[in-house]
Each structure stands twice: as C-alpha cells, then as structure tokens.
C-alpha cells in the first residue's frame, strides 16, 4: 500500500486533521464537504492486493468465456436441459458462477461463502459487467436477495439459507415494490397476519417489478404486521404464490421481471427477518449496498463500452483513416475516459472508507448490525456513487453509440443493447431523483445532528467570504492549482448549502429544484476531489494528472453555475447581489485557463495507443 506522495495542506479553515487519522471525510455523512482536500487515507484501485486482482480476473474471465459469447441466447431467454431438468440459460450460468464462488464473496466463510471485504465484493461486481441482463440477475440474487440474510438473519436462518444461496443451488429475489408503492417504498399494502396457532404468518398482497421473479426459489418479501412493516424470507414454491407474466421492457430482455402475488401464503414464523417493524432498517441498508454495486457495475460497463468503441474506431476507416484518429472523436473519447476514471476514483474511495470503518468493529455478537450502521453512515456517498455511475454510463454510451455510426444502432456491436439496458440504472435501486433527495436530506441531518462539525466551518466560510479574506494559499507540487480549485469549490458549495439551510429552513423539502442543484454540486465536488486524490496517490503521472485537470476544471465550472443558481433562488431581497458577488469573487480567484481540448486529446491518445481503457 503506497503512502500518498503528496501531503496537501490548505492552511485555511478548518484546521488539518491529526496526521495519524484519516480525514473526517472518510467517515461518510458528507464529511468530505468540510474536510481539507487530501489524498491521505483515500483508497484507490492501485492499492488492490494480488488476491483481489485474481478474484477480479476470475470474474472477468467468467464473463468473457461463459456470458459474452451467449448474450444473444440470454437476450432471447433460451432454455437448456441440465440432467432431466429444463432451466433458463441465464439461470444455468448463474449457477456456474456460484460454483466458482463469485456469488458468495460477501457471505461469511462459516456459511459457505468467502467472507471477503466490501472492496472485493464491489471489484467483482465491476468485473462482471458488459452483460447487464446477467449482472442484474446476479445482483438480485447475490446482492439484495442474499445480503438481508447476511446482515439481519438469525443464526438458524443463516445456516439454512446462506450456503444454498452462495452456491446458487437456490435463487433469490427482493420483493419490496408494489403497484401503488414505488419511490414511497415503505407504504406497501401487503399484509402478514399471524395464524391462531402462532406458527405461521399468512401473507397477502402484490409485489411488482421483481427481478428474478420468474425463477426465484425464495424471496425477501416485505409486508406489514399490524401496521409494522417487516421483512420475511418466503419460499416462493409454496401454495398461494403466483407469478405474473414477464414485463415487456425497454432493455434487460434477458432478465426476468414479473409481479409476485401472495394469496394467504403461509410463511413459518421463524422466517421473519429481524423483528416486526424492521423493514425500514433492512430496506434502506440493503439499498445502500445495492446502490453501490450498481455504481460499480456501471463503472465496469463504462470501461467495456470504451473498449468496444476504441476497437471499432481503430478498425473502421473513412476518408482513408481509422475514424478514432479524427479530432472530434478523440475529444469525445477523452471525456468518456476521464469521467470513467472519476467514477472509479470516487467509488473505491467510498468503499475503501467503508471497509476501514468496518475493520475497526469488534467481531462477535452484534457485528453485522454494526456493519449496517457503517453502511447507513455512507448513505449520502452511496447515492452519489449510484448517480455518478449510472449517469456517467449513460453519457459514455450516448457517445459510444454515436461513435459507432450506423453500427451503433444495430444489435451486433453491443452498444445498442447497452444503451437500452442502462436506462433502468437511473430508475431502480431508488430513482436518481430520489437519490438526489437522499443526498441533501442526509447532509442536512448530518449538519443539524452535528455529525460532521459543519457549523463552525460554515460560519468561517461565511465570514471569510464576507470580509473577502478567503485566501487559499497556492499549493506547491504537482496539481497544486487543482488542489486550490477543489478547496475553493468546497467553500462555494458550503456557502450555498449554508444559504439553503438559512433561507429555506424546514421548507427545504418543498424546494426540490434547490435540492437537485445542491446534490449535483456535491456529486461534482466529490468526483473532482476523488479524481484529484487518486492522481496524487499515483504521484501525478501524466495521464491521471491530465484527467484530474480536466475533471477539476469541468467540476469547478459546474459548481460555479449550480451555486449561483441556488443563491439566486433562495436569497431574497436586497442581499442577493452582495452574496452573488462574493461567490463570483471566489470562483474568479480560483478560475484558471485550461486547454480542455488538448487534455482530452492527450487522454484519448493514450487509450487509443493501448487499444483499451488501461487506467
């Protein structure tokens, strides 16, 4: 593990954290907003252990040999005969991946898994990408369909189900959404009633859009017990369960999405997960994990799409040259690569910080609950990762399709299907709109709760802006200008957040456009800071440094616009011009002339030469 080469000191509020401690931003809850810019304690992919690289290699090879050659068959829901049983090809492939151990990475060893950390789990998710129908089948089973039992199951439940789930001998799903209950996830009408003997709950209700619905053996099903929303492990082969027809979807044609209807389905009492009323805790924690996995899956698919686009663009000649050599194509490719690098940096930063917190927990009784507590603290960062991953992938695929010309519109070249499959990434596991509200909601709670010690910081920023003495000293060393720009951007965002809180108060919930702008500013800020930290951790080698310059520049510009928009809306009366002028002064002082076009070309050239995404 390399110690970061550059220790960055800002010299302005707040005081640097003690050197031995990871910065406060490493504990979640949006603490990065009020922490100094630092590469210290930031986990980056260059720190993977040889084992982690081997696990990723297995995952990638599995996808390359077992999944990608059969994408068309998966897409058309081909069935195969195994022994004397008929099953869907995608389920057979899922079971094969279970034999390799790919589905049990995060299941503890004593229950048939590997008990690996979250970094490894996410790296495996990243590596099993480029095949979204298969990945979503895996995610519904091994992620949201298994992790509730890992984290919230009792000993008997774990022993009974986890070994079978880790090996995919049985397939799981997660049934929360209902026809009338989507984003308002805990408002479901499904009911569970304890029978007279007290042995079984009878579950009645309908669940909607259930991934793996057609073939899951068990499901994590949410239902209310006397008004207390709760979670159950339900055997979907029991009487009273019926499965709806496959939804006709825009994408993910190879995955199963059906409704599940329960008509007095009897579930043994011991299959209640946690206690009555635990649904909120279970659902929200599991969603945090699911959101991060989705972000990492998107990251892997970004790289996959870049590789396809580079390969196509080198092969395809027009006007006597490979089309990837044309300047406009390089510009697009440079952006695709830089933004993918940024998602990589912010993703592993989040999960690295989570693992560092989990590593401090004492093993034994209550360990999994404590893990859940850590995950909860990173709800804001998990939402950032989900949005940044899915929307970066959206933009990468938009360019990839266009850079394939007419071939981008036909199935054969992968990107057409990926572009359709990606749309759902921005909708499920909490829509990106809902996730933006989670970001701001979590931040406001952390501020009011004193979790991230922000009040003093906000006041300092405010007074410094007012007096115009907000001097961010020049930082020596590579990327010094970028360090100063990120520090300035933090102050701009903090200033806007403070104005939002002061002026909107509890009315914030009705100011969703403000929440959206603040969320976007936080996403940009976290992305640019993480990119910078990763480039610095790698001693600012030329291509990562070029990427950091580009991402910091674009992020600064976005933040200048978003914060000005927020101020223009929330600050009323005659105070606005003065406040906007302060914000402008801050942004101007740390503006810079950056030749973004040259940076994009340089980044693109290095990837074109390598023939693939190689960062």
């Amino acid at each position: 593990m390399g110690t970061p080469a550059v220790k960055v000191r800002e010299g302005t509020p707040p005081a640097d954290a003690p050197e031995t401690e990871a910065p406060a931003g490493a504990k979640g809850s949006g603490g990065f907003l009020t922490s100094p810019v630092s590469a210290a304690g930031v986990f980056v992919r260059e720190m993977f252990t040889p084992d982690q690289l081997d696990f990723a290699d297995t995952a990638r090879k599995f996808v390359d040999t077992e999944v990608l050659p059969r994408l068309d068959e998966i897409e058309h829901k081909k069935t195969v005969t195994v022994g004397d049983a008929e099953m869907l090809l995608v389920v057979q492939i899922l079971k094969k991946s279970g034999e390799l151990g790919l589905l049990g990475a995060e299941v503890p060893e004593e229950y048939g898994g590997l008990g690996l950390d979250k970094i490894t789990g996410m790296l495996i998710a990243e590596s099993m990408s480029g095949c979204p129908s298969f990945s979503t089948t895996v995610g519904a089973h091994a992620g949201i369909g298994t992790m509730p039992i890992v984290i919230f199951g009792n000993e008997e439940q774990k022993q009974r189900y986890l070994p079978l789930l880790a090996s995919a001998e049985i397939v799981s799903c997660y049934a929360l959404t209902e026809p009338g209950s989507g984003s308002d996830a805990l408002s479901g009408k499904t009911r569970a009633v304890l029978n007279a003997d007290g042995t079984h709950y009878a579950i009645t209700g309908e669940k909607m859009f259930i991934t793996n619905g057609a073939w899951a053996d068990i499901g994590i099903v949410f239902a209310g017990i006397d008004g207390k929303y709760s979670a159950f492990i339900v055997d979907l082969r029991s009487p009273g369960v019926s499965r709806g027809a496959e939804e006709k979807k825009m994408g993910l044609h190879g995955s199963s999405t059906t409704s599940l209807t329960f008509d007095g389905t009897l579930v043994p009492r011991e299959n209640l997960l946690g206690k009555p009323g635990d649904a909120a805790t279970i659902a929200l924690n599991i969603l945090n994990l699911g959101r991060m996995k989705l972000g990492f899956g998107s990251l892997g698919t970004c790289k996959f799409a870049i590789d396809r686009t580079v390969a196509y663009g080198r092969e395809r000649r027009q006007f006597g040259r490979p089309i990837i050599e044309f300047d406009m194509q390089k510009g697009k490719l440079g952006t695709m690569v830089a933004r993918t690098y940024a998602v990589d940096a912010l993703g592993y930063r989040v999960v690295g910080a989570i693992d560092a917190e989990i590593a401090k927990l004492p093993k034994g009784e209550g360990y999994q609950q404590a893990v859940a507590g850590v995950l909860r603290n990173f709800a804001l960062e998990a939402s950032i990762l989900k949005i940044a991953g899915s929307e970066t992938l959206h933009d990468v695929l938009d360019s990839a399709v266009k850079m394939h010309g007419g071939y981008g519109f036909v199935e054969e070249y992968h990107v057409e299907r990926l572009a359709r499959d990606n749309v759902i990434d921005m909708i499920y596991e909490g829509t990106n709109d809902i996730n933006r509200m989670v970001i701001v909601d979590s931040l406001v709670r952390a501020i009011y709760g004193g979790v991230i010690g922000s009040r003093e910081y906000m006041e300092q920023v405010d007074s410094a802006l007012r007096t115009g003495r907000l001097e961010i000293p020049a930082v020596d060393g590579p990327l010094g200008q970028e360090v100063a720009r990120v520090a300035a951007a933090k102050r701009a965002v903090a200033f806007a957040v403070n104005e939002m809180i002061l002026n909107c108060g509890t009315d914030i919930k009705n100011e969703q456009q403000v929440m959206q702008a603040i969320a976007d500013a936080l996403i940009a800020l976290y992305g640019m800071e993480s990119t910078l930290a990763r480039a610095l951790a790698g001693r600012a080698r030329p291509i990562p440094a070029a990427i950091a310059r580009l991402i910091v520049h674009e992020g600064s510009q976005a933040i200048a616009r978003l914060t000005a928009e927020v101020l223009s809306h929330v600050v009323t009366g005659g105070r606005l011009p003065a406040k906007l002028a302060r914000l402008d002064a801050l942004n101007r002082q740390h503006g810079a002339v950056v030749d973004t076009m040259a940076l994009r070309t340089r980044i693109a050239d290095s990837v074109i030469e390598a023939g693939k995404y190689n960062l």
């Binding site: 084992d51 081997d54 696990f55 290699d57 390799l100 006597g320």
Partner: protein, 260 residues
C-alpha cells in the same frame, strides 16, 4: 501420480511489441505478463490427471525474476500443490540450454512420473526447452500432444502431425508438451485463490539446485538483433483509364517498389 508442470511467463497477447534501443532485446516496459497459453493447457491437463487418479502431487516450476510470483500463485489457485520459483541473478544471462539445465536440476530433486510443458512459450516460439529437459533427464518425450491417457507405468499420447494424428506410448517418467485442443483450461475458483495463499511457494537459487557457474555460463546461443516487420502503408488508388493506370502501376513497381 506425481506431476511437474513447467510454466513460462510471457507478454500478454495484447502487448505492444517494441525493440529496445540497442536492438538486441524486446522491450518489456509497461508490458502485462501472463502464463503462456500453451502452458495453461499443460497445467490444466496435470490437474485433470490428478483429479482422475485421485492421488499424487502437482509441482509448478518457473524460472525468472520476481514478476513470476503471481503466475505461480495462479497455478496454485488453479490446483497445483506446490510451486518452485527458480530465481538467481545467474539465470538472467542464460540461453535455452541454461534454462533447461536449471529446470532439469529442479525436477531431479523432485522425482515425478511426468513432466508437462506447453509446446512453446508464446512470443519467442523456440520450443526447444522440453526436448532439452527430456534429454537431460534421460526421459522419452512426446510433443504437440492433444490427448493423454495414463496408467501406472506408461502414458499414451495422441500427437498432432501434418494431415493426421499419431499415437505414441511412453514408459514413465516421460515429458509431454501440450498443443491447443488438449483441453479447455478452467477459471480459478475463488476458494482456490484463497487456499493458494497457504500452499508452499519455494524460492530456489542456482546453489540450491547444485548448479555451478560453468553450467550456466556455457551460453551457446546469442540474440544478435530484433526487427519489427515493416509497417503496412496505406493503399493507393490509381486514377485514370485502364491504359493509364496500367502505365502508372508499371512505373511504381519498377521505380518505387523496385520489384520489376
């Protein structure tokens, strides 16, 4: 049945080939190293033989610098029981015969029933080491093998030959080189990767193998120079009527390409 598999680390097939400035070596700067693909077949076959016979050990051997360690760990993850890493500054300057002497010395210290190689290390494509090792061990050898059947005393190999196949039978111990088609190598299981950490990976120097300087300084083959193939130039489209384009073509063939 005890088996030895000899593994070579080679450039990934995607690596961009560059010649070093002095023209006497291929530059390995920034190159990704992998197990030679033919060696993967050899290793896979050894694992299958062990699974079928249910007994014995598989030793994976490689010679080279520190970068070989991950490859040997991968071999352990896939199913080898032990790994021997032959590493010594004296090995840096040896030719194929020197490598064969080191391998043979290591194999003699770990007697086995069969030694498996890939048919050649992808990249240099010399394919001479298996035969040298067989000679040094005094063992029979079958190359380019696409099917192996073993029993207690002998091994039957199907060899790929021009236009057909040949079946040979050898007494054990014997040396075999694997050809594409022998099997389909498996992917490492995650539990195997974890278990590999606990398996022995031993470093052996020239002295450990009882090799003295004269054995290794006897270099008979020297790489004089390397050249990349000439880059392909873009096609030229000749314009004009047939008589005119024919005239142009003759001019080009005579004056520029100088082939007529």
């Amino acid at each position: 049945m005890n088996l030895v598999v000899c593994l070579k680390q080679v450039f990934s097939t995607e690596a961009k080939i560059r010649i070093s400035p002095d023209g006497r070596a291929v530059s390995d700067e920034g190159v990704e190293w992998v197990m030679s693909p033919y060696d993967e077949y050899a290793l896979e076959e050894a694992i299958r033989i062990k699974e079928a016979t249910g007994a014995g050990t598989i030793i994976a051997i490689s010679i080279g610098p520190d970068r070989c360690t991950p490859m040997l760990r991968s071999a352990l993850a896939l199913g080898a029981d032990r790994a021997l890493h032959l590493k010594d500054p004296m090995f840096d300057s040896v030719d194929a015969l020197g490598v064969a002497r080191a391998l043979a010395a290591a194999i003699r210290r770990n007697p086995c029933d069969m030694v498996l190689f890939g048919r050649m290390g992808v990249g240099m494509d010399q394919g001479v080491i298996p035969a040298m090792v067989a000679e040094l061990l005094g063992a029979p050898m079958a190359g380019l093998v696409v099917k192996i059947t073993v029993d207690a005393e002998k091994v039957r190999c199907v060899r790929e030959i021009d236009g057909g196949s040949e079946v040979v039978e050898m007494a054990l111990p014997a040396v075999v080189t694997a050809q594409k088609g022998l099997n389909e190598p498996r992917i490492a299981n995650l539990k195997g990767i974890m278990a590999a950490k606990k398996k022995p990976l031993d470093l052996l120097t020239a002295a450990d193998l009882g090799l003295a300087a004269p054995d290794l300084q006897d270099v008979r083959l020297v790489h004089e120079s390397y050249e990349l193939p000439a880059p392909r130039t873009a096609a030229r489209l000749l314009q004009g009527d047939p008589a005119d384009t024919a005239r142009q073509l003759v001019q080009i063939l005579r004056n520029e390409a100088k082939v007529i």
